[in-house]
């Protein structure tokens, strides 16, 4: 009898702890001698979500990834909510929710693919929580973007090719490439000085219009229209448009609409920049 009570007591003592351990599996590890940092499932999920959101992933993919990661760590009912400007995540319904504000967004498909890889590995059970956090942190701090000169070169090629694709002649290829490179470089530079994206795009489009007009006056190229259309393409918000569509289709109405508005504002900025030049022709 006594033995039975004891075992039952032991069972009761151990069971809640074991359950707690499963749900809120946290590991304390030593870093830098004295510092202790706690890694919880929430932290891993939110870090993964933050990297994806900052890199320009669709919000439904962000939520899906966070849910998958936490489910792989044994959480039964994770609740996640992401908008383009913030992430909210909790391990259970009516549990404590964790919030993260996202201010800067850029485009970095490589980071999205990397986080996707890690999430796959976690789901397959190849990574434990500490390794996952360390790898995510490494990705968060890595600079995976192509160097600026490569981007400007790519912008030049893209501009020239689009001028041909939209019905220009090969005479328009070089002026369009140079105008596109100018515009893109101008946008990159302006973005570093002033952190308002729309103004940077406006400025880039203005440069494109100006240089295209100058080329035409100097006798390069045949058609102003084709040159400008080609050169403007690197600034076009293609990612926002596709993201907005995919989010809307997935039922994320708030995110879809706000991304659509972002795309619209960008398009307006580009149009206004070019229009400023055309108005003087």
């Amino acid at each position: 009898m006594l033995l039975k009570l004891l075992t039952r007591g032991a069972f009761f003592l151990s069971f809640p702890q074991a359950k707690l351990y499963n749900i809120n599996k946290s590991i304390a590890f030593e870093a830098g001698g004295f510092m202790f940092e706690q890694i919880t499932i929430e932290k891993v999920c939110i870090l993964a979500g933050k990297i994806m959101l900052v890199s320009g992933a669709e919000t439904y993919r962000v939520e899906d990834t966070m849910d998958r990661i936490s489910t792989a760590f044994g959480v039964k009912n994770p609740q996640s909510y992401a908008t383009p400007t913030g992430i909210s995540f909790s391990l259970d319904i009516a549990g404590t929710s964790n919030f993260l504000r996202v201010t800067n967004r850029s485009t970095d498909l490589h980071k999205i693919a990397e986080v996707n890889n890690i999430s796959r590995k976690i789901t397959a059970g190849e990574l434990d929580i500490k390794e996952a956090y360390e790898q995510l942190e490494k990705i968060d701090q890595a600079k995976l973007t192509f160097p600026a000169w490569a981007q400007i070169l790519a912008a030049a090629l893209v501009s020239g090719c689009f001028a041909i694709m939209f019905g220009g002649t090969w005479n328009d290829f070089i002026p369009s490439s140079i105008a596109g490179a100018f515009g893109f470089a101008g946008m990159l530079g302006f973005e570093r000085v002033i952190e308002i994206r729309f103004l940077a795009e406006f400025f880039g489009a203005f440069l494109i219009g100006l240089s295209a007009l100058l080329f035409l006056y100097c006798g390069f190229g045949n058609a102003l229209d084709k040159t400008i259309i080609g050169a403007v393409m690197p600034l076009v918000p293609g990612l926002h448009i596709t993201n907005a569509i995919r989010d809307l289709m997935a039922g994320h109405l708030v995110s879809g609409l706000s991304k659509g508005v972002e795309a619209l504002l960008t398009a307006f900025a580009i149009g206004a920049g070019v229009a400023l030049i055309i108005a003087f022709v």
């Binding site: 999205i112 694709m165 076009v236």
Partner: protein
Amino acid sequence: MIIMQQLITSFIASAGFGILFNAPRNALVQCGLVGMFGWILYYVLVEAGMDAVPATTFAAMLVAVLSHTCAKIFKKPIIIFTVSGVIPLVPGGIAYNAMRNFVENDYYTGVQLSAQVMLLSGGIAIGLMFSGVINQLVNKSRMLFK
């Protein structure tokens, strides 16, 4: 000859967009190919006399299906391939013309062209949605036949 020229330029343009969006380096060629096939389908359809809106929709469908296959094969998020693939179909030229007409006080033509831009964007949206629908159908039928 013209088709060849369009193939090459659209491949370079889509792959170049992969660089601008910082796609993984080993996915750049696939991005270029997806964009190339989408644009060629659009180009051939328009040359054959089809209206631009249905042509864009069909091309976007092709892009969506190809992207989905690429995402499955190379185990990468689908967004990498759709974004670069859809770029050539974005009605940049018409949007520019609309803006130009607005600036030149020709609002009548401007509104007309803007409506066309909206229709073309809608076509892209429907085309992209198509791959999701196909995917769900395949998954559902797989579950049914199990």
